[in-house]
Amino acid sequence: MAELSNSGAEEADETATFRTNIENRVLRLIAAGNWSIVYLNKVDGELRGLSAKPGDAARAVIDLSAVSRFDTAAAAIISRTAAELEEQGLDVAYEGVSEAQHLLLDKVEACGKPEPVHLPPPLYLQIIGKIGETTRALAAEGYGMLDFIGSVIVIAVRTLMRPRRFRMIPFVHHMEKSGFDALPLVCLLTFLIGAVVAQQGAVQLKTFGAEVFTVNLIAIIFLREVGLLLTAIIVAGRSGSAFTAEIGSMKMREEIDAMRTLGLDPLEMLVLPRVAALTVTLPLLTFIADIMGLLGGGFVVFFMLDMSPGVYISRVQEAVGFWTFGVGLIKAPFMAAVIALVGCRAGLAVTGSAESVGAMTTSSVVRSIFLVIILDALFAMFFTAVDI
C-alpha cells in the first residue's frame, strides 16, 4: 500500500488527486499531491459523488500519507467526506495522518458540521414583507416627526418666555452659512431659470402673436411659485443635508449624550438656532431669487423682444398685484421650518456608524424636498379657496 501512495505523490505533486479501490468490502481512499485550497475544487466535486455512492463496502480507510500539503480547506473536505461516509453506514478510519494533519482535522471537526445555508423566503413573501415593513416604518416616522415638532415648539415657546436663553451666536452663524453663503448659487440658478422660462415662453407665445405676455408669464410664475420652490430645493440640498451631517456626526461621537449629561438640551442648543436661522433666511433668499428671476427674464425679453427695461418694469407692475408676490413669500418660512426640522431630526436619528450618517443625510434631503412640494400643493389649494 505504501508503495502505491508514494508513486502517486511523485506523479501528481502539483495538484490534488485521489484514487479509490474496494477490496474485501473495504473502500480505500488514497489522497495524493498538493491538497491546498487552490487545487481542491475538482476533487471536492468528485468526493461529493463518492460519498453519495460509496459502492459495496462496510469500511472505509482514508489514506493521507501521500499528501504533500494539507490546509484547512482540505481538512474540511476530508472530514465532511468521512462524516458523509459514516452516515452511509461505513466505519471510517484514517491512515498515514501526520501530526499536523491530525491537529487540523481535529480542529475542523471541532467546528461541527457546517449548517445548511439559510435560504431566503420566496420572492412574493419578500415583496409583501417589504411593503409591510415600509408601511410600518412610514407610520412610525410620521408619529416620530409629530412628536419632534411638538418638542421643538415647546422649546421655542419656553425660549420666547425667557429670551436670554436663546443661542444668539449659533443663530447668526447658521444664518450666514445657510443664507448668506447660499446667495451666489441661488442668484445664478434663478437668473438662468428666469431667462430660460422667458425664452421658452416667448417662442411659444409668438405663434399666437402674444409675445408681450411673456412678461406676465415670468412675473407670475416666478413670484408665485418658481422663485420659492427653487430656493427651497437648493436650501434643502445645501443646508438641510448639512444640518443632518453636522448633528449626525455629533450624535455618532456621543457629543449629544455628553450635552444631555451636562444638563444641556440638544433641542435648545442645536435644533432651535438652526430652525430659527433658516426661517429667517429662506424668505430673504426667496425675495432675492424673485428679483434675480425677473432680471433673467428681463434680460431675455430685452434681447429677444426688444423691450426696454422701463417698459418691462411697468408691464411687470401691471401684471402682478401685491398678493402674487405675497403668496410666494408667505410660504417661505413654513418651508424653511420643514427643511430645518427634517434635517435636524434625521441628524438626531443617526445611530453609531458612519454609514448611518450618509444614509440619514440622503433620506433627509429626499424627504425635505418631497415635503416642500407637498406643502406647496397644499398652499395652492388653500389660496385658491381663499381666492388670492
Binding site: 491546498s36 485550497i37 487552490v38 481542491l40 475544487n41 471536492d44 466535486g45 461529493r48 504533500s68 500539503r69 490546509d71 484547512t72 480547506a73 474540511a76 473536505i77 465532511r80 499536523a100 491537529l103 487540523l104 480542529k107 475542523v108 471541532a110 467546528c111 461541527g112 457546517p114 449548517e115 445555508v117 439559510h118 456608524s353 454609514e355 448611518s356
Partner: protein, 259 residues
C-alpha cells in the same frame, strides 16, 4: 509555493527610514521575523508600530531601506507575482475592516471569489468552517458588519484574514477594545491557530496579557528603531528605562502576577 522551514527568516526589514514631511518615524530600523514564531511589536504611542506594519504590507512606501517578505522584495515584483504572494499573508486591521456592504460569510468569501475558482457549495462550507474556527456562532454568517459587536467584528476580520490559510498573519491591536474574557479567548485562539496552521504571527499590541500569553519574542520600538528584540525574560531583565517602565509598571506587574 512550498512551506519553508521553521526558524528561517520570513520577514526581513533592513535600514528602514520612514518619514511624514519633517517628522521622522523610523531611522535605520532593522527587524527579522522567523517562520513559525509569534512576534509582538510594542512601543509608546506614536513610535510608528502601525506605520511599520503598513510599510511591511506595502501600503506605505519607505523613504529608504529594504523590506523582504518570504525572501521577496515586493516593490520589485511584477503585478502578477505580487498578487500571488499577497495571498500568502492575512491581515486583521484594528476594527476588522470588514466590507460593510457584504455579510460576514461574503466577506470571508471575497478572496475565494477573487483568486480561486470554487463551487458555491464549497465556498459556503469553507466560510462556515472559518466562522466556527474563530469562535463565532453559525448565525453570524448572514449578518452585516454593522450588526456585529466590536469583538465579533474582530473575529470576523480574523476569519477573512485566514480564508486562504496564510503563512503570515498580521494583527493590529487584536485585543484592543475587547473585554478581558474576550481578549483571553482571542489570545488562546492565536496560540491555537499557530499550533494547527503553523502560522507566523506579527502582532502589534499594547496588551501586556497578550504579550505574556502568546509571544515567542517581543520587539520594542523606541527612538525611531527597534531597540530590543528578545523573549519576555529578556524584556524583564532589560535596564533600558522605557522598557523597564513598560514591563515593570503597575499594570505589567498585575499581568505578570496573573500569569
Amino acid at each position: 509555493m512550498s512551506m519553508g522551514k521553521k526558524g528561517e527568516p520570513i520577514i526581513e526589514v533592513e535600514g528602514l527610514d520612514t518619514r511624514f514631511g519633517d517628522n521622522v518615524v523610523h531611522e535605520n530600523l532593522d527587524l527579522t521575523v522567523k517562520r513559525g514564531e509569534v512576534i509582538g511589536i510594542v512601543g509608546g504611542s506614536g513610535t510608528g508600530k502601525s506605520v511599520l506594519l503598513h510599510t511591511i504590507l506595502g501600503l506605505k512606501r519607505p523613504n529608504a531601506g529594504r523590506v523582504r517578505v518570504f525572501g521577496l522584495d515586493f516593490s520589485t515584483l511584477s503585478e502578477e507575482e505580487r498578487r500571488l504572494n499577497e495571498q500568502r499573508w492575512g491581515v486583521l486591521f484594528q476594527d476588522g475592516a470588514l466590507f460593510s456592504a457584504l455579510t460576514v460569510a461574503e466577506n470571508i468569501q471575497v478572496p475565494y471569489r477573487e483568486h480561486l475558482d470554487l463551487s458555491p457549495e464549497l465556498m459556503d462550507e469553507l466560510a462556515a468552517v472559518k466562522i466556527a474556527m474563530v469562535g463565532l456562532r453559525a448565525t453570524a454568517a448572514s449578518l452585516y458588519p454593522s450588526e456585529l459587536s466590536g469583538g465579533m467584528r474582530k473575529r470576523a476580520g480574523l476569519a477573512r484574514a485566514l480564508a486562504l490559510d496564510p503563512e503570515i498573519l498580521f494583527l493590529d491591536e487584536p485585543t484592543a477594545g475587547l473585554d478581558p474574557i474576550g481578549a483571553a479567548a482571542f489570545d488562546e485562539l492565536i496560540n491555537d491557530l499557530k499550533e494547527t496552521l503553523g502560522l507566523t504571527v506579527f502582532l502589534v499590541t499594547h496588551d501586556l496579557d497578550t504579550l505574556h500569553a502568546t509571544c515567542d519574542r517581543v520587539a520594542v520600538l523606541a527612538e525611531k528603531r527597534v531597540i530590543l528584540v528578545g523573549t519576555m525574560d529578556d524584556m524583564l531583565r532589560s535596564s533600558h528605562p522605557w522598557i523597564h517602565e513598560y514591563f515593570h509598571g503597575p499594570r505589567a506587574r498585575a499581568a505578570l502576577a496573573g500569569k
